[in-house]
């Protein structure tokens, strides 16, 4: 049995190692994660979901939405814009210093002077690296002006409009279960609430995806709705469907509670505030 015991002990150590790394350590490092503050603001992030949206998370789980949708925005890097906010007391000196910097360091100039209104912040450089942006700001500050760096997230997901920054651990603080998804059969939903903030659009899309997104491959979720005879007055909740998808005349389509909850959850999916780990500014 000497040999058998040895295998047991050794495999215990080897297998247990991965347990420590990917169960114990994440629980210690991430299990106590707290709310963070929004960049340049005193607001905390994230705030819990309203009750209906929280129930919607369970509908999302039950219907297995994560089989086709991810909730994680990827980002490949950042680009910086340099904005002149104040020319200080000596505008010519600031402009001169900036132009010298342009010539000496080959900064790519952004031609906005023509559109620029006096007294408003002026865009000097766009889509430059962090190093160039820092150097430009230093030059301007040294000459007595003031400049800001605006950070823009880059990458295909951002360019597609799926979000404005990459997802971070804090985004899922109030999710249970956390459903990140692994395949994009449908689009990413991490910022869906900011992208399509209209609840009635969400409901139409759930009832008949092809009615709002032409050629959509998403299966319709008609069973989350009730098709019923119109009573004395049409229900205020009834869907306003295009003709090809509408029920027979005299009938209306009304969302069940589950559909309303799911739509509320989708609207609650917002990753649209800048954080220390994932900064961005609006252009």
């Amino acid at each position: 049995m000497k040999n058998g015991f040895l295998i047991f002990l050794a495999s215990l150590v080897v297998l247990g190692g991965s347990w420590c790394a990917f169960v114990l350590a994440p629980v210690l490092q991430l299990g106590g994660l707290k709310q963070t503050t929004v960049l340049n603001s005193s607001d905390v992030y994230p705030v819990g979901r309203p009750g209906e949206a929280n129930q919607g998370l369970q509908v999302y789980r039950a219907e297995g939405c994560a089989a086709c949708h991810t909730e994680q925005i990827q980002q490949s890097g950042v680009a910086c814009d340099v904005v002149l906010t104040s020319v200080g007391t000596n505008e010519t000196a600031v402009r001169k210093a900036f132009e010298n910097g342009l010539k000496q360091n080959n900064w790519p100039l952004f031609m906005t002077q023509n559109f620029h209104k006096a007294g408003e912040p002026e865009m000097l450089l766009i889509n430059v690296s962090k190093e160039i942006a820092d150097a430009a700001v230093d030059t301007i500050t040294a000459a007595g002006g003031k400049a800001e760096i605006h950070i823009i997230a880059t990458g295909p997901d951002i360019a597609r409009g799926w979000g404005r920054r990459h997802s971070v651990a804090e985004d899922y603080l109030y999710d249970n279960p956390v459903q990140l998804g692994s395949v994009r059969i449908g689009p990413d939903l991490a910022d869906e609430g900011a992208r399509s903030p209209d609840a009635s659009w969400q409901l139409l899309h759930l009832y008949a995806p092809q009615s709002v997104v032409k050629g959509s491959a998403m299966p319709p979720y008609r069973y989350l709705f009730q098709i019923r005879q119109i009573g004395r007055e049409p229900s205020p909740d009834a869907l306003n469907l295009p003709k090809a998808f509408a029920p027979p005349s005299g009938y209306e389509v009304v969302p069940k509670a589950t559909a309303r909850e799911l739509a509320a959850y989708l609207l609650s999916l917002r990753a649209d505030v800048p954080l220390r780990d994932a900064p961005f500014s609006s252009r």
Binding site: N3, I7, C65, A169, P177
Partner: protein, 481 residues
Amino acid sequence: MTVNETTNPSAAEIDRSCCVPLLALFGGAALWLVVGSVLGLLASIKFHAPDFLANCAWLTYGRLQPAADDALLYGFCLPAGLGVALWLLARIGQTPIRGAIIPVVAANLWHLGVLAGLTGILMGDSTGFTWLEFPRGGSVPVFFAYLLLALWAMMIFAGRRPALRDALCPSQWFLVAALFWFPWIYSTANLFLIAGPVRGVAQAVIGWWFANNLLVVWTGLVGLGTALYFLPKLGGRPLQSHYLALFAFWTFILFATWCGIPSGAPVPVWMPTLSAAAIALLIVPLLAVFLVTWRTVRGSIKSNWNNTPFCFIGSGIDSFLLSGLMLMAMACPQISRVTNFTWFGPAETQLRLYGFFAMTMFGAAYHLLPRVVGIEFPFPKLARVHFWLSLLGIALLVAPLAIGGVVQGLKLQNPNVAFADTTKAMLPFLRVSTTGLLLMLLGNLLFFANVIGLTIRWKLALLKKFITFVKSPLETIEVRA
């Protein structure tokens, strides 16, 4: 130290002691295999016709797909693997199973658990964690059934013949490690994710760790343990070599357990980095497995061309190596940028679960089931048809999904391509993969027919024996009276 099993008088006795537990495990497994492929086929049809069965909540894609995956993994792979492990440990250790009633009860408990789990998923009771979808009604019976079966397997292992105590065969290392690893990962995942869920994204990390350790490590250990026993035995050449196999074992459990955290995940950077490093090192056990299997079967491939179990297990090893390479590709930053979130991942999983593990189990089952029951399969020729259907099916499922995944990924990387176009570009590939699923379903039906036919034959034989038994002693009693 080598003991020739065929000349050992107790070999048949050991086989017969495994009969009822193995029939219980494999009978249910064959049923879930067919159920899983029907569910998978239904889910796949939805890509071509989103409206198909759309009014039925039970059959929506988001429920069908996890149910199909779990039916294959928990319904077929795990019980089949446990059955083969029981037999292998008994056969290698030359000890018959005692108290066979317990594994039989455990097997039935297992299959009831799978039934409850699958029903739960289809009802919308899934836990929402990939590969851990079974609600409590399914996960608790499955866990305890596993414990019982593993306990029995360990008892067989501990009770191996004294002469065999000190020199273990590599298969035993692989199987014993696997037996003991599943309860650990399954209980961890259920405790940390469902019973007392941890907060936030740590859930995702534990979920990835669990899925990787079940899909890659557990199936790898049991599948390789099985193949390293059968390839030398069926090919007629001893294992080349023992030490290389043990080297494969240690490097495999050392590196494969750390894989699974995808790059770009919204977690602290050290986690995906560590995982990617482990996946890169996975080349070491892959090479070792390649060398040990190739040097073992080299020269015996041609003469075994018609040996169906040999073909099943051989193609299983090929799929293991190929899916390992796909896993490594997905962790390489330049490639993962494209394959991330595409069909490439599901293609790898299917190749691993069906192409490697299920195929290896089919091979083992075709070899051992007639021996443990002592009756031939009713349709032995269909085994060959099953092999070709499964091989062609898995190729037609995996190749288009992998290639389509790369096409999809390249389109996703280009923000000027509308998202709807990336979906549309996938359709021809999905069409071929649906055909692959159909072929696999046909193959699985043949396996089901053979296993169920064998069970019926065994029950009929038992009935005959019982009738003769009832008849004969009665006469003697009458005579004495």
